[in-house]
């Protein structure tokens, strides 16, 4: 496995016969405090001049003992901790956990709640991709796209704040339904939000995505072949950027996703817009396209969402979860997020294990960024789009 990765032919990777030189390698710490490590991740990098020869990621700087807390709190009290896993897309974290508890407890959720949950998840997905693309642009040095896309993100946070009361960590879903009712002009806000996001993304493609300097910085860099992606169990935009057609909303439709018709942007090896399938640019391109798909879902959601019927009365007063275990997964913004829930009948779960997507996707970093330059390593890390709360749990 290791060797067939090395000789991937690609003109951009600088293959130097190291035996000729006896240049001394420099060990550099892209330490926990580095402007573009997306949080507290330490990369111990071995540099030969500018070229990266070895990387050892050191994690655990944000290990907040999530699983220990889950064993000591009851099912409703775990939802705030689940929010804080991938704090950029908090509602998408709650989705699989809440479905897992409902499956164990055998609670049926009304039609309206399912559509509302799908819509909130899509708003949160757009907000996360806006941040992912702008952080990726920031790594390449373009500071303005970050602020344009944050302006759209404020709309998304505004809608979710009116729904749930909090801007970033919502604690909005709960087993059996949703905590608060939908406020009156929710549909109008979503409509305004979709139009402004589409306008902003159009502008973003001119400013950053198709900018020649940005393309030169990202195409043919950090090549992730398809089989290696499957072997590393990558999922989400990282996998779809390498041509794997794997999206849980389509492969195992949960909640009300079978009612929406949308397609999954995948960069097949043959059909690429720019660059090669599996490089940084195509991973970013999948995110840009997914914003468009989420807008489509939201539009259909506005028509599908029934006005009458309440979303909060399905919540059981006393949550009774019989013994058993379940693994429930959903398409989080970073990929497949799943919760392995083992309950022993009491009100506290015996074991909650989160399959964090960033933790799994980050594992490919050492093997795909050898041989590139140090500036490319920062771009590859930006394209994988990790959030340290989820990596370290």
């Amino acid at each position: 496995m290791e060797n067939n990765l090395e000789n991937t032919t690609n003109n951009n990777k600088i293959n130097i016969e190291y035996s000729q030189f006896d240049s001394e390698r420099m060990r550099l710490n892209a330490g926990p405090q580095h402007p573009s490590t997306h949080g507290v991740l330490r990369l111990e990098v071995e540099l030969d001049g500018e070229i990266v020869t070895d990387i050892i990621p050191h994690l655990g700087y944000l290990h907040r003992c999530f699983e220990k807390h889950c064993e000591n709190s009851n099912y409703n009290q775990i939802v705030p901790f689940v929010d804080r896993l991938d704090y950029v897309s908090a509602i998408n974290n709650e989705f699989p956990y809440v479905m897992a508890v409902e499956k164990l407890a055998g609670i049926e959720v009304s039609e309206k709640v399912q559509i509302l949950r799908a819509m909130c998840a899509e708003i949160n997905r757009i907000a996360n991709h806006l941040l992912a693309i702008s952080a990726f642009g920031l790594d390449s040095g373009a500071f303005t796209p970050l602020l344009f896309l944050f302006r759209e993100r404020e709309f998304a946070l505004g809608i979710l704040e009116k729904l749930s009361g909090a801007r970033l960590l919502y604690n909005y879903f709960c087993p059996g339904g949703v905590r608060y009712e939908i406020y009156s002009d929710f549909k109008k806000d979503v409509k305004v939000f979709i139009d402004s996001v589409r306008l902003a993304m159009k502008e973003m493609e001119d400013l950053l995505i198709f900018n020649d300097i940005f393309i030169k910085r990202t195409e043919k860099i950090g090549l992730l072949p398809k089989e290696v992606a499957i072997n590393f169990a990558c999922s989400g935009p990282v996998a779809r950027g390498s041509g794997i057609n794997f999206d849980i909303r389509k492969s195992a439709p949960y909640s009300s996703y079978d009612k929406f018709d949308f397609d999954i942007p995948v960069v097949e090896p043959g059909k690429e817009v720019v660059g090669v399938s599996g490089d940084c640019w195509s991973r970013n391109w999948v995110r840009v396209k997914e914003i468009e798909e989420s807008c489509k879902i939201l539009e259909q959601g506005i028509t599908l969402l029934p006005d009458e019927g309440s979303v909060t009365d399905g919540i059981p007063k006393k949550l009774k979860v019989p013994a058993g275990e379940v693994y429930c997964k959903a398409e989080n913004t970073k990929g497949e997020l799943g919760f392995y829930l083992v309950s022993n009948g009491s009100d506290k779960p015996e074991r909650v294990r989160a399959r964090a997507t960033s933790f799994v996707n980050l594992a490919i970093l050492p093997s795909i960024s050898k041989g590139y330059m140090f500036a490319d390593l920062i771009m590859i890390l930006g394209s994988i789009d990790i959030v340290l709360g989820e990596v370290d749990r």
Binding site: L62, C65, N72, R84, L169
Partner: protein
Amino acid sequence: MGLLNALDNPINADGIILGKVEDLFNWGRAKSNWFLQFGLACCAIEFMAVNASHFDLMRFGNIPRSSPRQADYIVISGTVTLKMAERIKILFEQIPEPRYAISMGSCANSGGPYWQHGYNVLKGIDRVIPIDVYIPGCPPRPEAFEQAVLKLQEKISMEEIFKKRERVAQEDKMLESMLKAEENNFIENVNKHI
């Protein structure tokens, strides 16, 4: 705060600005407080939102600096784990002297939601570095952060630079007198025994 207001709108201070040199220095430090670009967890995302165009932190003169040498204050935005605590201590010590620290969010204040079973979480950053302003909230609203920046500016503008030297000098004198007193009675004991 005399100079602070007068200097900010010199027009209605009818042109003449009265104030001590100390106020001028404090005004300079308060109004151009550069922060270290350093985020830990969820509060860092809210901290980025404060820097964005909607709640523009640059209105208060705070510019992000990526190297601790050029920063004035550090914002601990997120959960401090034990593995990270030593690094934050080193970071804070690298910031040149007139430095401040803001603890943002419940996790930095006291370990927040992770105070009970978080074996790897440091229960509050004030165990490692001195904190000037605590911001409650999880994460705090961007306006709450801006209010904290204003409170930090108030605290800076009330600092005393020159009297501090006198006070420190007084403390040193008191310390010496105490040490001398100890020596005397130590010598007396020795004499008594001989």
